[in-house]
Symmetry: C2
Subunit: 254 residues, 2 copies
């Protein structure tokens, strides 16, 4: 699962702002520091254009240069991004509730929102001895296999659900649900119970229980989950804690 | 203390990228959702220009519009920013150590970096019953009064120190050090002891102990702190835990 820019960003690529974001989109989890040559190649821009745009982005603080001259995403961009209501804004409100969940289990408490047909992880609190998870704050994942993804998909607009159900569903483990019909039934059961369980669908040693966070108008805007060792985990026992935390965040959002 | 853009961003304001960042800089902690009119006024741009730039930024995902049509910082910007080595990158490495500090005290564990003559808070883990702190993740503060600020100033280049010492030092409480000579002595003592103590210099009920985080080349790149109730706090007892955490993060950075 790689971070991809929204389709719209490509449409805007003719403008200088659009090209600046093409340049910024060249950075990724495995490419957090880039030379000018790497930057130009990954953004598919001529070296001179990349050089000029990078210079302007450095002047704005959106990019920084390290001691070796390589470019990296700048602190100023991170400061601006801390104002994103669906990013750090939501995260600040949710943090005390994530901490409560973490205290209960010493495993992983996660917060995610939907972007298109994927989930974006906004926060994760993890214990030292917690089951290893494959997610990263700021990272994207598929919806059909993760606990938060199943919640966000269950309450997503119909066209989003149909888009996900209409495309091949990637298999991560032997337990991943990849049949559209079975996924449909799962989503119905999530809506009925008010929480989702992803049992060894992402890795064979983990299980997650997730619940919806609702905005002021009642629509589902985010999801919160606990990811624990699958060995001996009791979803039915974990669900009330996760649902209570989700209700707490929902209340804080009003 | 308000979030201000680096001086360089103003110089670039003629270009379209520069103006786009002028528009983004209109957002702030108390202005996270803005109408087009507010956006134009705060960015000091004509309405038509603001409208065009905002449209391009929405197309890139840097801005989003809420149900009421107001603009807000977009999730895509936050995703990009999660790649900033001095933002979430550092934060990911430091998080387990911050959690350890939090476990010890159930108060506030903080992580900050220097930007110019101010500190920017990158992370804060706080307990429900912790002493209230005035900082915000993504927020800026003065260096002369905060624990992390004193550490970052003590190890900053001489020109940065002289710049801070040469300007009026704002008083937050009756204990805030505002005399340049006294601050100079404080900084010398921070370098000698290897940690800083801010005793009721920000609020009268809090005390912080901070220690430096060093990069691979040995230079100080960040600071970590504990902020506790000043009542009965023993900085000498807290310092080893904070220093050990700082050394742990420094090791993780290599």
């Amino acid at each position: 699962m790689v971070a991809v820019a929204p389709a719209d960003s490509r449409r805007a690529s003719r403008s200088s702002i659009g090209r600046a974001f093409t340049l910024l989109n060249a950075f990724g989890p495995d490419h957090s520091r880039l030379t000018l040559t790497e930057l130009a190649r990954r953004a598919d821009l001529p070296l001179t254009t990349a050089h000029r745009l990078a210079g302007e982005l450095v002047a704005c603080g959106a990019l920084e240069r390290d001691d070796g001259g390589r470019y990296r995403i700048g602190l100023r961009l991170w400061e601006l991004a801390s104002l994103a209501p669906r990013g750090l804004g939501l995260r600040e409100l949710a943090l005390p509730f994530l901490e409560d969940l973490y205290e209960v289990t010493r495993e992983n408490a996660q917060l995610a929102v939907r972007d298109g047909v994927e989930v974006v992880f906004v926060e994760r609190i993890t214990g030292r001895h917690a089951v290893p998870v494959r997610t990263r704050v700021g990272g994207r994942w598929a919806m059909h296999c993760t606990g938060v993804g199943l919640v966000l998909l269950a309450y997503a607009p119909t066209d989003v659900q149909e888009q996900v159900l209409g495309q091949p569903l990637e298999r991560y483990t032997e337990r991943t649900v990849t049949a559209a019909d079975e996924l449909r039934r799962t989503l119905a059961s999530v809506r009925q119970r008010g929480y989702a369980v992803s049992d060894r669908q992402v890795t064979m040693d983990s299980l997650s229980v997730a619940a919806p966070i609702r905005g002021a108008d009642g629509t589902v805007v985010a999801a919160i989950s606990l990811v624990v060792h699958s060995d001996g985990a009791q979803p039915v026992a974990l669900a009330p804690a996760v649902q209570a935390a989700a209700r707490g965040v929902s209340r804080a959002l009003r």
